[in-house]
Amino acid sequence: MRAYTPKDDVQKKSYYTDRFWVAPQVPKYDVSQDAVFAADLEAIKAKFDVLDAYIQVNQMVVVIHANDNYAVLELLKNEREYPQLSEMSAIDWLASEGKFEIFYQMLSMAKRKRLRIKCKIDEKEAIQSVEKLFRSADWSEREMYDMFGVVVNNHPFMKRILMPEDWEGFPLRKTYPLQGDEFAAWYEVDRIFGKEAREIIGPENRDPARVDRYDTQRFSRLGHEVPFGTDISQGEPDTPLVYQEQKGVFMIEKFDAEKSVVISDRHR
C-alpha cells in the first residue's frame, strides 16, 4: 500500500517563486459610473445590507450577506429584470479566510447587463437553494456540493452530480491533491476487485512518459518486434512489417518489397 502523506498544506506550497511577481489586479470602478447599475444597487440597498459594490470589467459585483441570497435574487429576478442565472458556483478561500465565496452570475437580456452577487459562508455552513427561482441552479448547486462540499438547504435532490456517489473528498477544494488522495488512487480497484486486490494490482503509475526501452513485456518497438519478455539489452533484430504470416492466403501473393517495381512511366 502506498504510504500516506498529509495533503492539508497543498495550498501553502508556492508554485511561483519569483519574489518580485505581483498578481495582476483587474481595476474596480465606482458603481455611480453606470446609471443602470446604480439604480439596481439602490433597489438592493433599500432592503438589504450591501457589504461591497463595484464595477469590474463592465459588470457590477455586489457582496451581500449569505442569508439574504434567496431574497436578493428574487428581487433581481422579479423587479429588476434579471431573469437568467447564467452561472453559479463557489470559490475556495479556506486557506486565507476560512470561507467559501458563493457567486451568482445574473444576466439581463433586456438591459444588456451582467451582474454578480457574491456572498461568503463558513466551511461547515449551508446556503439556501435558489432552485425555486432558477431551474439552472439545480445542477449548479449539485455540482457545487460535489466539488466543494457546500451543502445547499431546500434543494430537491442534493446528491453528487459528477463524481460517483460513494466518492470521498471534494475535488475542487484547494486542499485536494490534483492526482487524488489515497481513496481516489485505489477507487477503481477497491470498487471492482475489493481492497484485497491492491497488493496484486499495485499502485498507479503516475508518470505516463516513463518508457523502459528494454522492457519487452510492456513495450514493443514497431519494426523490431520480439517475443514477449525477450532480453534485448544486447540489441534486437529488425523485423520487417508483415501483413501475412506463413505463406499467406490462398491466391494472394505475399508482398515482397524486393520484387516490387516502381513505375516511372504513368502511361505505360
Partner: protein
C-alpha cells in the same frame, strides 16, 4: 462416348483442402472480429471513422456491435474515468470467450495527459489488454494495423478451448 478422365491428384484439381482444426477455427475467428462500440472520448471518433466507409472495417470482418454479448473485441477508445471503471469491467465480463481487448490511445494506455484524480491510469488496471495502440488520437490506419496484428495474434493461438480464460486477477 468420350471418356473424360480427370486425375485429381495430379492436376491439382482435387476439390479438397487439407488443413488443421486450429487453422480453420482461427481463420474464422480472426476474420470475423466483431468489436464492441466502446468510444469513451475523442479516440472514439477515430474508431468510428475506421468503421465508416473511407477506412471500412467491414473488409476485415470487423463489424461494430452495440452489445457485449455479440462482440469478441473491445476497442477501449478514450479516457476511462474512475466512475466508469466499474462498467467497463462489467461489460468485459459479459463478453463471451474468446475475447480480446485493444487499448486505443494514450488515455486508455496510461491515463495519458489526464494525470488527475478522476482518470484510471491505464485500462489494464481493470481489464486485461492484448494490444496497446499509441497515439493521441491514433489514426484509423493505426487501428487497422492493430486489428491486423490482433488477427496475427489470434492465428498464433491454439484454437482449443483448453486455453484458460484471461483474467486480470
Amino acid at each position: 462416348m468420350a471418356q473424360h478422365q480427370v486425375n485429381y491428384l495430379k492436376d491439382g484439381g482435387l476439390p479438397v483442402a487439407l488443413t488443421t482444426i486450429d487453422k480453420v477455427v482461427n481463420w474464422g475467428r480472426s476474420n470475423s472480429i466483431w468489436a464492441l462500440t466502446y468510444g469513451l472520448a475523442c479516440c472514439g471518433i477515430e474508431m468510428m471513422a475506421s468503421g465508416a466507409s473511407r477506412y471500412d472495417f467491414d473488409r476485415f470482418g470487423t463489424i461494430f456491435r452495440a452489445s457485449p454479448r455479440q462482440a469478441e473485441l473491445m476497442v477501449v477508445a478514450g479516457t476511462l474515468t474512475k466512475k466508469h471503471a466499474e462498467f467497463i469491467r462489467r461489460l468485459y465480463d459479459q463478453m463471451t470467450e474468446p475475447k480480446w481487448v485493444i487499448s486505443m490511445g494514450s488515455c486508455a494506455n496510461t491515463g495519458g495527459m489526464f494525470n488527475t484524480y478522476s482518470t484510471v491510469q491505464g485500462v489494464d488496471r481493470v481489464i486485461p489488454v492484448d494490444l496497446y495502440l499509441p497515439g493521441c488520437a491514433p489514426r484509423p490506419e493505426t487501428l487497422q494495423y492493430a486489428v491486423m496484428m490482433l488477427q496475427q495474434k489470434i492465428r498464433k493461438e491454439p484454437a482449443s478451448r483448453a486455453q484458460k480464460p484471461k483474467r486480470l486477477m
